[in-house]
């Protein structure tokens, strides 16, 4: 008679001993907890892969430059800040950055131009509908008011239209073509999102309604129709004109020495190129020099002092420092994009940086009481 096999041992969830690196204590976790940890790690890895994708930064720059003008306009309509100030602080730096990125990677630059052109055409299509409604007396034309918001009451009607076509329509087209996942890119959805933003702004801010357009069912319906038309034209044009982007490494590798840079030092045996480091140092020197130069300018010119007094209680210091920081950021971005993959002459850069920082010190020491606020004599 054969023996009965032993009953199977009850299956239990294994206890996974995990050594906690923080406290050095032997902990026991259940398999369920470990599965959660593994799933979290997978999600984090996906986020890491997305962040490390070579085109994320270029796309980010284009999207930022594309949405910044309409964001600035929204803030100005809500009377958060003047439009001219927001243009200088938000729009101009991002636009310059996008231009530099387009010059640095011509493939993306051409893609950006396609987006801009498609945005212009789509805005013209939107205006065919909108101007027709204006001529029919359904609503007033708020676009010339944008020009007055930007340049004051003396601005002509065309200033608002230039802003509308270039800063709003074309810039949104630039942002649109930089969006990833082409299969999901939909012009109608993009137009709907922009319209939702406009309606939301008008609903939340009575100032925006007073400055731009009153929110009624008629204006909301007209805006929705116009934005959907804009998005539809934008989507169809970009689908027709765009080629799939060629993946590029960021930064793009360049030859170490070129005929125009004979002073490059040999590449070190170990360690990468020092272009990024030199770019950061030189940009800091440029920022210091700009601060010193502006300080001397303020000392020499009361008009400049008045123009740079962003705050009456703080005087021209606010303007000089703000401009210096902006120039620093722009210079750093530009130099980093150009020099990061190269080996630069650090000794020559040191001499140049010393001169620039010296200009900053001269401005600091030579200004005397130049930072006294205008009209605030002791």
């Amino acid at each position: 008679m054969t023996q009965m096999p032993p009953p199977p041992t009850p299956r239990r969830e294994p206890d996974w001993p995990v050594v906690s690196a923080r406290w050095g204590v032997l902990e026991q976790r259940s398999g369920h907890q470990i599965a959660g940890v593994v799933e979290d790690a997978g999600l984090l890895r996906a986020a890491r892969l997305l962040a490390d994708a070579p085109t994320v930064r270029v796309r980010g720059v284009y999207v930022l430059a594309g949405v910044m003008p309409i964001t600035a306009l929204g803030l100005a309509l809500a009377e958060v800040a003047p439009l001219w100030l927001l243009t200088g602080v938000l729009v101009v730096p991002t636009t310059v950055l996008a231009v530099q990125v387009g010059r640095r990677w011509p493939g993306w630059g051409r893609r950006g131009l396609v987006g801009l052109a498609a945005g212009l055409v789509a805005t013209a299509g939107y205006d065919v509908l909108r101007v027709g409604l204006v001529l029919a007396g359904v609503w007033a034309d708020p676009i010339p008011g944008l020009g007055r918001l930007l340049l004051g009451s003396q601005a002509g009607w065309w200033v608002g239209y230039v802003w509308r076509y270039v800063a709003d329509g074309a810039a949104l087209g630039l942002a649109y073509v930089a969006l990833p996942i082409p299969q999901l890119r939909s012009g109608l959805a993009a137009g709907g999102v922009v319209c939702a933003g406009l309606v939301g702004l008008l609903a939340l801010s009575p100032n925006a309604q007073a400055n731009f357009l009153p929110l009624t069912w008629t204006t909301a319906a007209g805006a929705a129709a116009g934005h959907l038309l804009y998005g539809g034209i934008l989507g169809s044009l970009t689908r027709r004109w765009l080629q799939p982007p060629v993946p590029t490494r960021f930064p793009h590798p360049l030859p170490r020495q070129t005929a125009s840079t004979p002073a490059l030092t040999p590449h070190p045996a170990d360690g990468g190129p020092n272009g990024a480091v030199v770019a950061a140092m030189l940009a800091a020197g440029i920022g210091c020099a700009v601060l010193g130069a502006l300080t001397l300018l303020v000392a020499a010119s009361p008009l400049a002092a008045a123009a740079l007094s962003y705050s009456p209680t703080r005087g021209p210091l606010t303007g000089t420092t703000t401009l210096a920081v902006l120039v620093w950021i722009l210079a750093w971005g530009n130099l980093h994009l150009r020099w990061a993959p190269q080996q630069m002459n650090a000794a020559r850069a040191l001499a140049l940086v010393a001169v620039l920082v010296g200009i900053g010190l001269v401005g600091a020491l030579g200004c005397g009481s130049c930072l006294m606020p205008v009209g605030d004599a002791p």
């Binding site: 705050s311 002459n345 200004c367």
Partner: protein, 222 residues
């Protein structure tokens, strides 16, 4: 009744801290006194944060933050300037180096922003003088023949703004390309000079600030 062997018992019956293991593992365990001092420091900071609104005004608190940030920059940099540019394989050393440069740059920015937007208007005084010189340090200095301190104050505000620009560049370079800095002497010299310049600017601004606060009345901080 006999208990089962230790390995099968619930964790709460077993001592929470196992016996220390020899060698490297033993040295990596954080001593109890260090853990206790960390908890005590955090509790003290939390208590200070709760009590601060009852002890000082908003202007005084911002001024304290401005001064503390400036001191942090100067002391942190002076204590480890040369060591910051080295490259090492120690993970703890690398983290300490990164946290130091980030802290220096952050402290510099906090100091200049608080000084420009909170402390400097208080020093300049109101647009319409109140007649109380004690509340307007700049007017007080000129009225008492100490205009040289006002001149030094204008130098301080510009020199102080050089510090965050320079230290941020150094911080990013150390975080991003520490190996390049460590192995290329010319690059290391460049970063070192700018680090010294940034720390020097912070030190000069701090020294002038101390002098102005001694020479001028502090009633404007009410």
């Amino acid at each position: 009744m006999t208990l089962p062997p230790v390995d099968d018992q619930p964790r709460w019956l077993v001592a929470t801290t196992p016996a220390p293991r020899p060698g490297r593992h033993r040295r990596r365990r954080t001593p109890a006194w260090r853990r206790a001092s960390l908890v005590a420091s955090l509790a003290g900071l939390a208590g200070l944060a709760v009590a601060l609104p009852y002890l000082v005004t908003t202007g005084q608190a911002l001024f304290l933050a401005h001064s503390a940030a400036g001191m942090l920059v100067v002391h942190a940099g002076a204590s480890g300037a040369a060591w910051l540019l080295r490259d090492g394989r120690s993970r703890v050393g690398r983290r300490l180096r990164h946290s130091t440069v980030v802290g220096m740059a952050a402290g510099a920015w906090i100091a200049v922003l608080l000084g420009t937007w909170s402390g400097y208007p208080s020093y300049l005084g109101s647009q319409q003088p109140t007649g109380s010189l004690a509340a307007e340090p700049r007017a007080w200095l000129h009225a008492h023949g100490l205009a040289v301190w006002d001149l030094l104050m204008t130098v301080k505000v510009v020199v102080g703004w050089l510090s965050p620009l320079l230290l941020t560049a150094v911080a990013v370079a150390v975080l991003r390309d520490q190996a390049v800095i460590a192995r290329d002497p010319a690059t290391r010299r460049l970063v070192g000079v700018l680090l010294a310049a940034g720390l020097g600017a912070a030190a000069v601004a701090s020294a002038i600030g101390v002098g102005v606060n001694i020479a001028a009345p502090n009633d404007f901080l009410r």
